[in-house]
Symmetry: C2
Subunit: 335 residues, 2 copies
């Protein structure tokens, strides 16, 4: 172990001087600086980050809780987080929760043990165990793409999912559709409710009936899309247009529709959500809602670091703009 003491001896100065030279070079003489730097070089010295952190009480790390690593939408957010964190001198601890509460608890507790300074939550749940809830009161935490409802409000970065739901619905109605199906993801989440409410509000305004048995699904996976289509096609009057609550679901739905010999969009129109990269290269390309995922990640870090530094927040809830991408998977309703 090559520590600061060894360097100080090598340079013939005190450990304090070595520390100063490395952190505030302007506080020491040109002469000593050279001596110290030479010794540092010679010894191959790198300050022990653990020791520095225990002194300053800051880990300069943040934990990111994500339910699923293989979802490219989440990973795009994390790219933004990672990039912004790095620029600000933070590193990112990855917490793959797989949606399990105990894993969430474990990861979340890292910030209670000074292993991390703050937390970004990509899922919709409050990640601390009942035991830790009191301690978590003052933990810097931001939720992104979902929001967390509870006693205490946490800052969030989100899309206007309600408006996005409305936009998709208007788009399909303009094509003459009136029989809709929905294949949902995680049903207990806020974004689910927002999107659903958006869709229903337009249907209501237009006097279009929506029966609850046209809402199927319950997880953001390709298989959900497949099973969802199978269910919806069994209905007495199958839908001519299907909302999928993410692109993976839409990919599965598209696959299954084609497998059953239906054409998209001639027989059934299909919409996705997230604008995952591959969605543009499907056959047909998916009509979907683009979310500024990378930017959402970056903004989350900005907010979190303000929280960590106990700076006043400019805004506590940020709604980012979406964009409806009309591509080939939607078209006129069959006559």
């Amino acid at each position: 172990m090559t520590n600061i003491k060894k360097v100080s001896e090598l340079a013939g100065v005190s450990t304090a001087t070595v520390s100063r030279t490395l952190k505030n070079p302007e506080l020491v003489t040109e002469n000593t600086r050279e001596k110290v730097m030479k010794a540092v070089q010679l010894a191959g010295y790198r300050p022990n980050w653990l020791a520095t952190s225990v002194k300053t009480g800051k880990s300069n790390s943040i934990v990111v809780l994500v339910p699923n690593l293989v979802n490219p939408f989440f990973m795009r957010i994390i790219e933004g987080i990672e990039q912004a964190a790095q620029e600000k001198g933070y590193s990112v601890l990855l917490g793959d929760t797989q949606g399990k509460a105990n894993r969430e608890n474990e990861y979340a507790s890292m910030v209670l043990t000074n292993r991390a300074d703050g937390l970004i939550q990509l899922d919709h749940s409050f990640p601390f165990s009942a035991n830790d809830a009191a301690l978590a009161e003052k933990v810097p935490m931001v939720s992104v793409c979902e929001r967390i409802e509870g006693e205490r409000r946490y800052p969030f970065i989100e899309l206007d999912n309600y408006a996005a739901g409305r936009a998709l619905t208007h788009h399909l109605i303009s094509y003459g559709h009136s029989r809709f199906g929905i294949i949902a993801g995680q049903r207990t989440s806020q974004i689910h409710h927002d999107r659903l409410a958006g869709i229903k509000s337009v249907l209501n305004e237009e006097g279009i009936d929506f029966s609850e048995d046209m809402l199927v699904g319950g997880s953001y996976r390709i298989e959900t899309g497949i099973e969802g289509v199978q269910e919806l096609l069994k209905r007495d009057t199958p839908p001519t247009a299907i909302f999928c609550f993410n692109d993976d679901i839409a990919i599965g739905a598209l696959y299954e529709l084609k497998r059953q010999g239906l054409r998209v969009p001639e027989d059934v129109s299909l919409t996705g959500f997230d604008n995952v990269k591959v969605s543009a290269y499907m056959d047909p390309p998916l009509t979907t809602v683009d979310q500024p995922a990378y930017e959402m990640g970056r903004r989350a870090v900005d907010v979190l670091i303000q929280l960590i530094n106990r700076q006043p927040l400019s805004r506590t809830r940020e709604i980012l703009p979406f964009q409806l991408l009309e591509r080939g998977s939607t078209g006129p309703a069959k006559a």
Copy 2:
């Protein structure tokens, strides 16, 4: 800050006893244990992980260097890494390098500063700067899915890319193909050379000519597949079968072939690599090579932790089995 001292006072014992109660409860009396636990509860005490680590000299963290977060194949590996790490009490620091040397250097240096105990590299390059090379001599490091060639050999977990290249080639030749194109990813990597060598070896054995201008591409992206197809179709005698060196490339290639009015596999056969989830849901589903990505991640952690604990390695290079998945994107060559 609620520290161990506060708890010891609250419980009326020494700090050492508190520490013992938490780490080795069997070393203290039932009686004191209760007192201490009560005090811990009351104070809402959580041991400061930084302090613990600076004492033991171990961070119980590992850094994972990955060139690109949005690639589901990499993320599947990282899922395995993350899961195995968690089981063994390690946390994962995410290093998105974007293939840039300076970012690699920065992340790699975390293990030189005790911020992490070891390193897993998913890219093909030695991640330390020239400056740090000497220091890195003894750094625990494993490379997975790629291998790092250089003065010093690092343990790696890899696929038999040579054999996979051969298997793909045999598969296509059995369909009667003899005019091949290749759309490559990162060309400087070892896996590129292995796969290419595998393909060429079979072609050679079968007396099939391969001209270098049938090798195009240079990055693992959808766009590469698109541009690759455009180039290959300009050749005097376009290929009837195209090897793509990952599934993203194949997705782009498939898209572009269809856009140009060609049918897959009737006009052109197409193979991918990695068996990314969506590959099975393309139209047609992609013939591809399945890599046990999750398992590769898990094994990498096993090996890394052995390295960290200076245990003798059972094996320093591990070649995992692949599986050729024959799906709809390959078929008989056009007469």
